[in-house]
Amino acid sequence: MAQGLDSDEYDVVVLGTGLAESIAAAALAKAGKSVLHLDPNEYYGSAQASLTLDELIEYVKVCGSTHPVELPEKLEKDRRRYALSLFPAVLPSRGALIETLIASDVSKYVSFKMLDSVIVASSGGFRRVPGSKEQIFRDQSVSLMEKRKLMRFLMLSAGDHESSELIQGKENDALLDFLTESIKLPPDLASTVTYAIAHCSGPSDPLGPAIKRTQRYLQSVGRYGSGAFLVGQYGGAGEVAQGFCRACAVYGGTYVLGPSARMTDLHVDDKVTFSIPCHPRPVIAKRIISAPDLLAPLLKEPGPSERVLGAHCIAILSSLPAALAKDRALGEENDNEGIEQDDTAMIIFPPVDGKPVVRGLLMGEGTGSCPAGQYVLYISATVTEPSDSEELLRPYLRRLAPEPIFESYHVSETAKPSSVAGSSCVVGLSPYGDNQLETEALDWEAEQGRAAYEAIMGTSEGVRGFFEKTEGETEEETV
């Protein structure tokens, strides 16, 4: 076995195996840097890990949940067959992560499926959001008049909206108001567009960014299938992070996880020095990449003060929620060829009664998240107080699934972007601090990974680009 690391010195040490860290590590190793990648946890993925059921139960306990849970006896035998994500998210078919996956060839290690449905809850029930223009036209629950208005908005978003007179000067107005006042959509439809297409986090989300998300949504539709989003197998983000870690290892990166990776005596001046239990001597690196949350305590700094809190529920269901069954849901296109039930769905609860937007993500057996016949249901919301996640989310869970076979609740804390340590040796990553977790977070991570790569490599001419292929490689790749 290993008598310590192969070397006392590295170009870069990366701390934490979240998606951004792992992407940066892989890109740097590929560009020829020597990379030491450490994670004090026993599992890959940091705050974005995919855990087995027993690992999740342990995680919830450790992160101080007020609702620790026990492993139900009947799930004991299959506990390792679950891939439960601490970071449930969907991947837009166009965006930074997809491009990074393709450029890095990590797409060979991980697989994705189209998200089957997007569903919006209203007081009246649930409705499936038509994904494409064609589906909008086939949707019988929307009048022709409303369809025209809706198309007008979509065309506006898809096109050169920045120079549109209708929008200019209103970038900071709320999208929801714009839809009802300028586009004259009925409230129901305006709400659907706001939360299920533009993925706003509240009624006052500004038009500018919302319309950009809508544009990206429209560009994503159809790239790989009729929907705009993909879902990752085996929990998604955590699996993708593992894929990048493997790529890093393949290019020579060294991996240490668990207690033997726990850094002590970290000093940062013109270089980075630290000790880890798996190596008999201090280790020196030119640069360190990490999220401020991990780094601050090691540097004995106060760390980021502003935090975004997320309330999370992870439930296991033994059947498809009735609200999602194809023959029951409202606004169904008349597909009379054998109804295929959804394996995956995003369920959006627009804000009501002072509650935040609540988002659900359903992952069936086809995603490798659970044993056959079961579903994993994630329900999350951004909250302002470290309030009771169970109290907030349980009614949503019950509405979708009255009798889950397992449910757990926890609160996540994410530091808002901030800088750590004035040293240029430190490349800080900003965790995703916004709240459209489902649709934007994975691309954010990819952009952070790229930024860290560029902070280390520079972007001047002649420097190897992010996952740029060498000539020989491109030839070999064509089989």
Partner: protein, 267 residues
């Protein structure tokens, strides 16, 4: 790349390698995939995975071979490494007793982490380093050389002497090697017994000479059930077909819209 699949069914199989550092994992793959051997391999760097076909009587098994890329060194192999692996080759070095202990630990780990139907083969590598591949190999370490049937090539002593005195008319394995049988630290019997107990396929092989390498992979291929779920995305059940149907059963979305793997060929 030759692709004469035609009507013959090709089963795609993910195969993972495990074993202590420097036992010859990468060398076995190199021998199998490119019929090549390199004395100075660096710890594995490079390919995502290699592919190689194995043609059986009634079908073709296409191996997608994953090497550990060193992630096993500090016990940090990612779960994704084992996921959907239909076969595993656990390698030890017959000249290093501790490597068999490590191999046993990996077998345990596989039985815990991997798909329960995984076909596991235990391989004692570097067979070329010991003199006698038949009866004598049964004996535990340090067998007096004099007892051996006369086979001078295998009696040559140290590296230094080899360099000085050209080896006698070569048998395949030995030229340039320190190949006294005393190098053997794991008897074939011991490993075989363990393999039987743990229900593993078992081979002693040499990546250097190629001895038993294609036999190993062919035997694994034969043991792979015909209907192994193929690609990583494979889901066992009903749901999730909706999109799979577009892409070929449950294979998920092909992001890159291009072929995978690096090498073709057939054993």
């Amino acid at each position: 790349m030759s692709n004469e699949d035609g009507p013959v069914k090709a089963t795609q199989v993910k195969l993972v390698l495990l074993g202590e550092a420097a036992v010859g994992k990468s060398s076995l793959v190199m021998r199998f995939c490119s019929n090549d051997f390199n004395e100075n391999t660096s710890p594995t760097i490079g390919a995502a995975f290699l592919t190689q076909k194995c043609r059986l009587e009634n079908r073709i098994v296409k191996f997608e071979i994953w090497d550990t890329a060193g992630q096993e060194r500090f016990h940090s192999l990612a779960p994704m490494y084992y996921r959907n692996a239909a076969a595993a080759v656990v390698v030890y070095d017959i000249t290093k007793a501790s490597s068999l202990e490590k191999a046993k630990a990996w077998v345990k780990e596989l039985q815990r982490q991997a798909n329960p139907n995984i076909v596991i083969a235990l391989v004692g590598n570097k067979l070329d380093l010991v003199s006698d591949e038949s009866g004598a190999s049964v004996a535990p370490k340090s067998k007096p050389a004099a007892e051996e049937p006369a086979n001078e090539a295998e009696e040559s002593e140290t590296d230094a002497e080899d360099d000085a005195t050209p080896p006698p008319p070569a048998t395949t394995a030995a030229a340039g090697d320190d190949s006294s049988d005393s190098l053997r630290q794991v008897s074939k019997e011991e490993a075989d017994e363990y393999a039987k107990e743990a229900k593993l396929l078992f081979f002693e092989a040499s990546a250097k000479t190629g001895a038993n390498v294609s036999e190993l992979f062919t035997e694994i291929a034969k043991n792979i059930p015909d209907e192994t779920p193929t690609k990583p995305a494979a889901a066992q059940g009903q749901a999730g077909r909706r999109n799979g149907a577009r892409q070929g059963a449950d294979s998920g979305v092909d992001l890159g819209e291009r072929q995978q793997g690096k090498k073709g060929g057939c054993c």
